[in-house]
């Protein structure tokens, strides 16, 4: 009898807790007619469907009673809300001309961009790829306030609000990338393969992401899984005339009722790049191979995701000579080569993660565990014996609980940390930093409150990091120290109306000195410096005040985002007048007074009523730095004024022109430099591109165009080849073919 009772209770509970399928419709708020082919997404479950021609949808599977649903359609303002799955759902969408709020911000807990308390810059890779580039680092330059510190075209490092390297945190699907970012010549090791969006949090963000997020956070997210019951294979191939480079990729994205898969690979090969005078920069060649796999599933309230990313790059390091007095001509060649030569860098990354989420009616519990492995090998003078060979293993974790309480209060709290091991391989000739272990643990909470037009958010966080190095004859002494960090954030957003949003945020960040800053002792060939660390360096601390105003009208949108950021104990490298083995000595130093950053990012998007196909976009980024000791800062990005005119066509013919893009990026002069840095002059680069498509059984998309149309001779202030007088690339024609195969 008892077992029948238990069975009945389980069955009843099951029926109460889960729904077998969700049905509903998406309706135009004005016409009351269904919105055809709108996309409905269950955000927490990574599950989506497309509405039929009448705006009706059915999502199959077992889901909890209350879920977070998002509906979006071309020409409509996206809606995100909690709904009951036990009833037929009706979502009302409002027609708009500008689609700027369609996207959700992963870094802010899957909120719509307009609902985020802090201003987050968000771009889709598709949007950035309207003018395709040779690398992800170059694509990121299309985001206001984001720059690219480059060594040729192969090595790119993101720069956010003038800070780079260990001061910028890169996350791939929430997993922290640990890839020797301290080195000026160590690139990101991530390609655009299978990446859908790039979110940029500018300024200190230690509350959400822990130590080191001082300049900002770059949050890369995988493509969303395909709509339920849909399978897509995308093949693409791109050719660049400047480097005679190719990049080809193949990716599968498919979803059944409960299971979702994303898998693909990419290979890119580029020869030496050409400068405007027709010569080629020796050894600027590079090769990239990437693979990606993602498996997502859900069962009732449980959502799981396993992801794996692999990358392997062979990167030539330009600017190498044995001549005691080097001239620019030594680094240039009349012929363009692709074959690997020295010095060369091999960079490989393995990033595996397992995400588990439990979606309850009032709480969402998320546990992300990951394993990352980065290997950096540098060969300088010997083919078989590496100069440096460093392996970095990292085990990051994050336990996050989101509790939706009464009166629109959301409490988010959790634990975050990592265990990192850095090992030098004894096969290598040299070690820049000793073998070391690092253990991070942090606890945080964040309270969000929403009432009428106000949204408030505030929180605090405490972190502890322990660094210990192994005994090594090259370095003075074994090092072991524990650092603590306390951070807070307080922010508010006020929507005057649907058109006007003001945001004000005060955030703090901290960065514990990196091993290279504490313990370096040796020649770093990538930077041409003999670096000497200082074990007495203190933790860098930053406080930022960030204000933003957003206006979204029917035909015009505007963003004004000024900020001021003060950094205490700022660490910098100071050149000395001494040399060791012919290499100039640099000491790591720290400022006694704060370094102040002030600047603004401005953006305007005009979509004139009289010419609906046209979009005029203009963004302006400016940063100034102030310090008592002007040697403290260097490499302040040139102010950038980016202007685009985009014509988007909606043709119905078999052959269609989708868009034509004309972009002019104007970089103002940079005259604020440190003692051993040179100024940079202003320049402008004009790009032109076109995208067409052919509607057939196998839909084709063709992009072609030219970058640096006028073959302008320039050197970007952040180019690491600037000191050698090497110019950025000249004119480059590109063509890209994309084939999309959709199977239902």
């Amino acid at each position: 009898m008892f077992k029948y009772f238990i069975c009945t209770v389980i069955l009843l509970t099951g029926f109460r807790a889960y729904t077998q399928s969700i049905q509903g419709e998406v309706v135009d708020v004005e016409t009351k007619e269904g919105v055809p082919f709108a996309r409905v997404t269950l955000v927490d479950f990574h599950t989506a469907v497309q509405c039929d021609e009448n705006g009706k949808f059915t999502i199959k599977g077992r889901f909890p009673e209350t879920i977070h649903l998002r509906a979006a359609a071309a020409g409509y303002e996206a809606v995100s809300k909690e709904v009951s799955t036990r009833e037929n759902i009706t979502v009302l969408l409002e027609a708009i001309h500008l689609e700027i709020d369609e996207v959700t911000v992963t870094a802010s807990g899957n909120e719509l961009k307009r609902n985020s308390v802090s201003y987050v810059e968000l771009k889709s890779v598709k949007e950035l790829n309207e003018l395709p580039k040779a690398s992800l680092g170059q694509l990121l330059e299309g985001i206001p306030g984001v720059y690219n510190s480059s060594t040729g075209l192969g090595i790119s490092k993101p720069v956010i609000r003038g800070l780079q390297g260990v001061r910028v945190l890169t996350l791939l699907n929430g997993v922290r990338m640990e890839g020797q970012q301290w080195g000026g010549d160590h690139g990101m090791g991530i390609s655009e393969l299978g990446i859908e969006t790039v979110e940029v949090l500018k300024g200190p963000a230690s509350l959400q992401y822990g130590a080191d997020a001082l300049g900002g956070v770059l949050y890369l997210s995988n493509e969303h899984y395909e709509n339920q019951g849909t399978h897509r294979i995308t093949a693409s191939s791109q050719f660049e005339s400047n480097t005679m480079g190719t990049a080809s990729s193949l990716i599968y994205n498919g979803a059944t009722k409960n299971l979702k898969i994303l898998a693909g690979g990419r290979f890119a090969s580029h020869a030496d790049y050409q400068v405007p005078d027709g010569r080629f920069v020796k050894n600027s060649r590079f090769r990239d191979a990437n693979a990606k796999f993602g498996l997502g599933w859900h069962h009732g309230k449980w959502v799981g995701n396993i992801r794996y990313d692999w990358s392997s790059s062979t990167l030539g390091i330009p600017g190498h000579t044995h001549d005691s007095v080097a001239e620019m001509a030594d680094f240039l060649s009349e012929s363009q080569l692709r074959k690997k030569t020295l010095p060369v860098q091999y960079l490989s990354n393995h990033i595996a993660s397992w995400e588990n989420k439990l979606v309850l009616s009032k709480h969402t519990i998320q546990l992300l565990t990951a394993f990352t492995m980065n290997q950096l090998i540098e060969h300088d003078e010997k083919v078989t014996v590496p100069h440096l060979l460093i392996n970095t293993f990292n085990l990051p974790y994050k336990l996050n609980v989101e509790s939706r309480l009464k009166n629109n209060i959301v409490l988010t709290y959790g634990l975050q940390g990592m265990y990192l091991v850095q090992q030098n391989n004894p096969k290598a000739e040299d070690r820049l930093v000793p073998n070391a272990r690092q253990n991070d643990n942090g606890a945080y909470f964040l309270v969000g409150w929403m009432k009428d037009k106000w949204r408030l958010q505030g929180g605090a966080r405490a972190d502890v990091r322990t660094i210990s190095s192994s005994p090594d004859s090259k370095f003075t002494q074994p090092f072991s120290r524990t650092y603590a960090g306390y951070n807070f954030s307080l922010g508010a957003s006020y929507s005057v109306s649907k058109k006007h949003i003001f945001r004000l945020n005060a955030t703090t960040g901290f960065r514990i000195p990196h091993l290279s800053e504490l313990l370096s002792r040796g020649v770093h060939h990538g930077t041409f410096r003999y670096e000497i660390g200082d074990v007495n360096l203190k933790t860098e601390k930053a406080v930022q005040l960030d204000l933003s105003y957003e206006y979204t009208g029917e035909h015009l949108s505007l963003v004004v985002n000024p900020f001021v950021n003060g950094i205490q104990n700022y660490i910098f490298v100071q050149p000395q007048d001494s040399f060791i083995n012919g290499v100039q000595v640099f000491y790591y130093r720290q400022t006694n007074t704060p370094v102040l950053q002030a600047g603004a990012d401005l953006g305007i998007h005009w979509h004139p009523h009289f010419a609906h196909i046209l979009h005029f976009e203009s963004t302006f980024s400016h940063l100034a730095m102030f310090a008592q000791n002007t040697d403290a800062y260097s490499l302040i990005p040139q102010p950038r004024w980016n202007n685009s005119v985009i014509a988007r066509f909606e043709m119905k013919s078999r052959f269609r022109i989708d868009n034509v893009v004309l972009q002019y990026a104007y970089y103002l002069p940079q005259k604020t430099v440190s003692q051993f840095e040179t100024t940079s002059v202003d320049y402008g680069v004009l790009d032109l591109g076109m995208q067409c498509s052919v509607a057939s059984k196998i839909p084709l998309q063709l992009q072609f165009g030219v970058r640096n149309l006028t073959n302008t001779t320039y050197i970007n202030h952040l180019s690491r080849l600037k000191t050698l007088g090497l110019y950025n690339p000249g004119r480059s024609y590109y063509v890209k073919l994309v084939i999309n195969l959709n199977v239902k």
Binding site: N283, H320, T341, V383, T384, V385
Partner: protein
């Protein structure tokens, strides 16, 4: 029939992967510097190449550093 074809495709892919992951032996022209001149040692491969780069080239009791790449 379909299963056979699928099997052949998988086997082909596996063979390609195995061959792709085999590392080819590297060969390079090597030299050492003596009195400002490059003294050619010829093409060296594999273990010979590695040994020469690691230990150098000894002439009359003097060991010279060997370079096996062009710039």
């Amino acid at each position: 029939m379909k299963t056979n074809r699928l099997g052949a495709v998988i086997a082909g892919a596996a063979i390609m992967l195995v061959f792709a992951s085999c590392k080819k032996e590297e060969c390079h022209e090597c030299h050492y510097d003596f009195n400002g001149q490059e003294v050619e040692l010829g093409k060296k491969c594999g273990d010979d190449l590695e040994a020469l780069e690691k230990s150098g080239y000894a002439v009359d009791g003097v060991t010279y550093e060997v370079h096996c790449h062009e710039h």
